[in-house]
Symmetry: C2
Subunit: 339 residues, 2 copies
C-alpha cells in the first residue's frame, strides 16, 4: 500500500534506536520503552530526561514490534454512515474523545452501507485493529461473523443484534411513546409519522409511537416515507400537504427531516408551526436549537452512547446489549400545555 | 497501549500463515502476498482462488512486517479542529474518499488547537504514518519542524506557510473582494465585517474585502468580532444592532456566523433580510441552502481542497502552495441587481 505515495520524504533516513536514547539519558533501555508505553509508571524527572534525549536524537518510538508480538495495536476502527447528518459527526466527536482518554487511536471508515464493510474491515485487520465501533447500524450477519471469526470485537449503535455483536442503543421505543404523548397532550387529533428508511432505530421509534397512540385511543396515524435528509423531509411534506388530509401533528424520524418539513410548511403552504401543525423531531442536533426552528425533539445522549461503545469493546462478553435513555427537549414547535 | 482493552477476545488464537493459504490455493506464497497488496497485478481467477482459501482458513493478512521493512504504513493522519462546523465534516468526507481511492487508511485526530498536535503526532508516528493532512490551520513552527525532522510530510488547509509545510488554500482574498462587490453593487452604503478569530483564512478574507471597498471609494467598514459559531454570530449581531449605527450590509467570516446573524436580526429586531440588511456568508455549508436561510455565500470546493492535499502529500516538494478558486453562490440574502 505504500506505492500510493510515490515520493516518500525522509524514507531513507536511519532511525536512532531506543538504546541510543537510553545511553544519552543515562537510563536503561526498558525505562525508555516504559516512557513510550501508555499507562506505565515512570517518575516525572526520569520521563523528562528521556524525552529530552529522544528529542535531541530525533528518536521516533516504534509501536510495530510490540504489535507483532501481542497481535494488539491500540487501534480501533470507527465506522460512520456518511457525514451529512450531524448525528454521525457528533458521535464521532464523542467517540474520538472517549478513545483518546484510553490512548487508543482511531481509524476512520466512511461507508454508505454495511455491504462494503466486509472488504474494508478485512483491509483494516491487516493492521491488527483491536475492535470496531460502528455508528452505522449493521444488518449483515456475514460482516458480524467475519469479524467474530477474526477475533475482532464489534460494537454497533442503534443496531439489531447480529451474531455476537455488542450493541449500544438509545431507548428508541420509549422515545416513540413519549412523542405520541407530547402530540396527544398538545391537542393533536390528526397525527402523522414521517418515517426513515430501513433502520432498527427508525423501526423502534415507530413501534413505540404507534403503540402509545393506540393505547391512548387514537386512530392509526398517516405514514409518509421521508428518509433521513432535509431534502427528503421537505419533499415528503410537500407531497403530504398537497393531499386531502392534512395532519395537525407530525413525529419525524430525525431532526433533519423535521426541519425540512417545517421549511416546506412555511414556504410552500404558509402554515404556522405550531399554530397549524405541531412537530416533534429526534436527535437534538445543534440546528434544532437554532432560533429559526426551536424544534421540540429528543436529545440522544451521544456521550453516553460513545462511552458505552468503548466500555463494551473493552470489557463486555459478546452479545451484550446496553440501552441509553434519551431526554425530551420541549421547545417551540409544540404547544406546551401544563402537563 | 494495548492495556486499555483488558479483555481481548480471541487474542490467543493462532494465526494461519500465508504459506498455508498458498498451499490450499495451489499457488506460491508470493502470489498470496500480491493478492493482499494494493495495486499488484493478479488475474481474477487466481485472486478468487486465493480469497477462497484465505476465507476457508480464516487467514488475516498482516501489514506489519512490510511496514517494519519499508518504514511506510499506508496510513495518513487527518487532523480536524472540532466537528461543530460542517466545513470540517465536509472536508473529512472528501479527504476520506480521496485517500480511499489510493487505498490509504485514515487515522483521525480531533484537537482544539495546534498546540496539542505535537504530542498527538508524536504518538501517531509510532505507527510510521506516511503523512499528515490538517484541515485545521497550523501556526506553530515547532509542530511543523518536528514533523519535518521525522521525515513526515504535512499538508494544511487555509494555513500560513510554516517551515516546509505544504498548503492548499481557498483563494480567500479574491473571495473577500468579490463579497465587497456584491454588497456595493446591491446598494449597501453602511457596510460591516463580522470577523472570526485569529486565522489565516479569516485574515485573507478581511484583507480582500477592505481593499476592494477602499478601491470602490467606500468608507472603512464597521468591524465586529464574531468568532466562528452560530451562537457567536447571534451575539455579535445583538451587540452591533443595539448600537447607534446599524449596517445595511454584512459580510460574515463563515456561514454559521451569517446564519446566527440572520436569526438575531429577525428574532431580536424584527428586521428583514435582505430588505433591511443584506448578508453574505462563506463556505456554502448545507444549511446555507435551507429554505429558511437561502444565504448568498461562497462555495469552497472541498473536493478540490481534499484532492489537492492528497496530491501534494504524494508528489510535491516541501513548501509547495496550491490555491483553489471558490465560487459565489447568489441566493436570497442579497438584492440581486443586474450586474
Amino acid at each position: 500500500m505504500s506505492r500510493a505515495l510515490s515520493n516518500p520524504p525522509g524514507a531513507a533516513r536511519a532511525q536512532p534506536s531506543s538504546t541510543e536514547v537510553a545511553r544519552l539519558a543515562g537510563v536503561s533501555q526498558s525505562t525508555v520503552s516504559r516512557v513510550f508505553s501508555a499507562g506505565a509508571a515512570v517518575s516525572p524527572a526520569v520521563r523528562d530526561r528521556v524525552m529530552k534525549a529522544a528529542e535531541a536524537l530525533n528518536y521516533r518510538p516504534n509501536a510495530l514490534p510490540a504489535i507483532l508480538q501481542t497481535g494488539r495495536s491500540g487501534i480501533i476502527a470507527v465506522v460512520v454512515g456518511g457525514f451529512y447528518n450531524p448525528f454521525f459527526t457528533e458521535f464521532l466527536r464523542c467517540v474520538t474523545a472517549a478513545l483518546r482518554e484510553r490512548r487508543l487511536e482511531i481509524m476512520l471508515v466512511d461507508t454508505a452501507s454495511d455491504d462494503n464493510l466486509n472488504d474494508i474491515v478485512g483491509e483494516l485487520s491487516r493492521y491488527r485493529i483491536d475492535g470496531v465501533i460502528s455508528a452505522m447500524a449493521i444488518h449483515s450477519t456475514r460482516v458480524a461473523k467475519k469479524l467474530e471469526s477474526a477475533g475482532i470485537p464489534i460494537v454497533a449503535v442503534n443496531s439489531k443484534r447480529v451474531g455476537g455483536m455488542r450493541t449500544v442503543s438509545t431507548d428508541n421505543r420509549a422515545a416513540g411513546g413519549a412523542a405520541a404523548d407530547v402530540l396527544v397532550d398538545a391537542g393533536c387529533r390528526d397525527i402523522a409519522y414521517f418515517a426513515g428508511r430501513d433502520s432498527q432505530a427508525q423501526a423502534e421509534r415507530e413501534r413505540g409511537f404507534l403503540k402509545r397512540l393506540s393505547d391512548r385511543g387514537m386512530p392509526e396515524p398517516q405514514r409518509a416515507l421521508a428518509g433521513f435528509t432535509y431534502e427528503e423531509g421537505y419533499a415528503a411534506a410537500v407531497e403530504c400537504f398537497s393531499g386531502r388530509s392534512r395532519p395537525d401533528g407530525i413525529f419525524c424520524v430525525n431532526d433533519l427531516v423535521a426541519i425540512g418539513v417545517m421549511d416546506a410548511l412555511r414556504k410552500e403552504f404558509g402554515l404556522d408551526v405550531p399554530g397549524d401543525v405541531q412537530i416533534v423531531g429526534f436527535d437534538d442536533i445543534p440546528m434544532a436549537g437554532w432560533r429559526g426552528y426551536e424544534l421540540t425533539t429528543f436529545h440522544q445522549d451521544m456521550d453516553a452512547l460513545a462511552r458505552g461503545c468503548v466500555d463494551l469493546l473493552a470489557d463486555a462478553p459478546a452479545d451484550t446489549r446496553t440501552t441509553v435513555p434519551c431526554r425530551l427537549v420541549v421547545r417551540e414547535t409544540t404547544r406546551n400545555r401544563a402537563r
